[in-house]
Symmetry: C2
Subunit: 100 residues, 2 copies
DNA sequence: TATATTTTTGACAAATGTGTCTAAATAAAA
DNA sequence: TTTTATTTAGACACATTTGTCAAAAATATA
């Protein structure tokens, strides 16, 4: 399901958890902003569930990070986790950049 | 669900269908190689269902294209369809390329 | 046209994903 | 330690995805 790298240091969950804890916010507060149960956020932070893209702007606001930073982490996690096993991922990404 | 571009010309489904038809192969043949019902392949070619990554090498063989070419199309479709709406996709992809 | 082949559609079932809720485990504070 | 707050775990429900199968629609061939 996941590539090594992702659980090593750069999963979306760990990223969010670190931001949240550095702000001294309990799950309860952030989960309320996201309008989900704390258990969901707990699972997201442990990469047991996925965040939705709708959560990105809310997380950005409450965790005081730019939407861009949050979204980049979201994208990295999603792609590595979905496509990280593929042999030509790098080539595929380069192709997409050509058309963006 | 999808970006315009993807259904315009470069969806995985259309890509596969064009290859298959150019070889004069019926759905039946390719579906058999993939070990799925023809209806599944029909839906994949019309972007109503998704191909799995396990299908890539099989499609490469039977459609006589390199695994690399097929996989790049697979990756493009998946990412555009899943993440194409995001504002900082380009930045996210660039970040991934840095670590690959 | 009539027949055979290919392709599409939709009903169904199984597997997966997503959220709520309650209670248990853990950590922090009194 | 006792109490309170936070975090995690798991049962449940509901929606989505993915496949099979059978039959209809479309296309090609005799």
């Amino acid at each position: 399901m996941c590539l090594n790298k992702i659980d090593k240091m750069e999963s979306f969950g760990k990223y969010i958890r670190q931001l949240r804890e550095s702000k001294g916010l309990p799950l309860r507060k952030v989960a309320a902003a996201l309008d989900v149960d704390t258990s969901i956020l707990s699972k997201i932070e442990r990469n047991e569930r996925r965040a939705t893209s709708e959560m990105i702007p809310i997380l950005a606001r409450i965790l005081e990070k730019s939407e861009k930073d949050i979204e980049i982490q979201f994208i990295k996690s999603a792609i590595i986790s979905d496509l990280g096993e593929l042999n030509y991922l790098k080539d595929g990404l380069k192709e997409i950049l050509k058309i963006l």
